[in-house]
């Protein structure tokens, strides 16, 4: 903190200072240089995800709490070191007998996916990639408060989201020196050959990971089914019936 940052002689209600439009929704960012926010160390965002909108995986330099204001959805995080415990099991069983390596012969496995509904409050540590999907018929509205003054943030008092996928054509206006500069995803900066070696894929697919031609933004519209592996809803949760027969 700079000296006198909390010498607040007059407070006022704050509105978002930047709106980042995307194909599947928008992100509204409050200017965290505003005196009240600077003093408190908070950075504040609101996410409005349209139906079938997917907020692509992003991680932050600070821990944050996210509150579901409206709508329903799915949320996934990738916590370092945690196993992929959501597995499409029936197919998995069949393939093992054939001695195939992990990753072959079954549909998918990934880390935990949770159902979201109004009132849910989600804690996300720094550096943990997180994504949201709106599987309802109304906008999914989330508000998130990141604590920039926390020990978990080892950088400066700026919110620095890192995009795993997608990009932000508008750039991060709230960061000095980054106005008018498009923000790319983390793969963009690596040489394609390195990505190809790291992933053991061809260079063309590696270039696809860099999303050069992609201007959809960080919330994209999913076309067709979004069939991630997830448990059925609790009976009565959000009035929705379980999607599969509980055994």
């Amino acid at each position: 903190q700079w000296p006198n940052e909390c010498q607040l002689d007059q407070l006022n209600a704050l509105e978002p200072s930047q709106v980042i439009q995307s194909e599947g929704g928008r992100i509204e960012v409050w200017d965290h240089h505003a005196p009240q926010l600077r003093c408190s160390g908070f950075a504040f965002e609101r996410f409005v995800i349209e139906p079938q909108g997917l907020y692509l995986p992003t991680f932050m330099n600070a821990g944050k709490l996210t509150f579901v204001v409206h709508g329903t959805g799915l949320m996934g995080r990738v916590v370092p070191g945690c196993p992929e415990t959501f597995i499409e099991s029936p197919v998995f069983g069949e393939s093992q007998g054939q001695g195939q390596g992990q990753g072959q012969g079954f549909r998918d496995m990934h880390q935990k996916v949770e159902h979201l509904r109004c009132g849910d409050t989600i804690a996300t540590p720094s550096g943990v990639a997180q994504w949201f999907y709106n599987n309802g018929n109304e906008p999914l509205i989330l508000v998130a408060a990141a604590d920039l003054a926390n020990h978990e943030n080892q950088l400066d008092r700026n919110l620095r989201p890192v995009l795993i996928a997608g990009n932000n054509p508008q750039g991060q206006e709230w960061l000095q020196g980054r106005q008018q500069q498009k923000q790319n995803n983390i793969f963009t900066g690596f040489a394609p050959e390195i990505l190809a070696q790291a992933f053991k894929i061809n260079v063309e697919t590696a270039q696809q990971l860099q999303s050069h031609q992609d201007n959809r933004g960080n919330i994209v519209k999913v076309k067709g089914p979004f069939s991630v592996i997830r448990p059925p809803l609790r009976r009565g949760q959000g009035g929705q019936q379980p999607q599969e027969k509980a055994n």
């Binding site: 997917l54 692509l56 995986p57 991680f59 330099n61 996934g76 990738v78 370092p80 070191g81 992929e84 390596g101 992990q102 990753g103 072959q104 549909r107 998918d108 990934h110 880390q111 540590p125 720094s126 550096g127 943990v128 990639a129 994504w131 020990h151 080892q154 950088l155 620095r160 989201p161 890192v162 995009l163 795993i164 996928a165 980054r178 923000q183 790319n184 995803n185 983390i186 793969f187 963009t188 900066g189 690596f190 040489a191 050959e193 390195i194 990505l195 070696q197 790291a198 992933f199 053991k200 894929i201 697919t205 696809q208 990971l209 999303s211 992609d214 999913v222 979004f226 069939s227 991630v228």
Partner: protein, 187 residues
């Protein structure tokens, strides 16, 4: 009394002993870490360290510091290092060599590839339980994501998405060969 005081705390851990390695691949090398679990005094310092020793053409898969900044100091050999910042810009793309120091801020992704017979470094981290997350490999963020997120996020086919997710079975060290373009920071 004296038994449970600062005076008796162990404050030394040797990181040059491969038999203690946390990551080990005979043909690629090893990585050893010291943190507050195996050296409790670090809980007071909020610091930890990592010691790496890899062979020629071994690559440390692209990864980022989840909760720490780190100072990487080269103690032996040479390596090609690429680093990408939070804006997706390549901010470092050079060969580093013995005696050089490189700072890796939290959230910046780094790839290291040995370009000499042996590349050894010590990395000091500003968190007593420093964690890394990797972009590629069996325990990477990509493996943890559902296929739908990958196909929709990158506009690639399900088959390609499966290859991206599951081709690299290693977690930290992998084999890398052939020429690599570097020296052209993409900003």
């Amino acid at each position: 009394g004296l038994e449970e005081t600062l005076c008796t705390m162990r404050c030394t851990e040797n990181l040059d002993d491969p038999s203690d390695a946390d990551v080990y691949t005979p043909s690629l090398g090893y990585i050893n870490t010291v943190n507050s679990y195996n050296l409790p005094i670090l809980r007071l310092l909020h610091l930890s360290a990592l010691r790496g020793s890899i062979r020629n053409n071994a690559m440390v898969l692209p990864q980022w510091n989840v909760n720490a900044n780190s100072a990487l100091y080269v103690t032996n050999g040479r390596a090609h290092i690429q680093m990408v910042n939070d804006n997706g810009d390549r901010v470092f793309d050079q060969e580093v060599s013995n005696g050089q120091l490189l700072i890796v801020p939290q959230g910046f992704s780094v790839m290291k590839r040995a370009t000499s017979e042996q590349f050894q470094w010590i990395e000091f981290k500003t968190n007593e339980n420093a964690q890394v997350n990797s972009l590629a490999g069996r325990t990477s963020v990509m493996t943890g994501l559902p296929l739908e997120v990958i196909t929709n996020g990158f506009q690639i086919s399900p088959q390609e998405a499966k290859r991206v997710k599951f081709s690299t079975m290693e977690t930290t060290l992998t084999h890398s060969s052939g020429p690599m373009s570097y020296g052209r920071p993409r900003v």
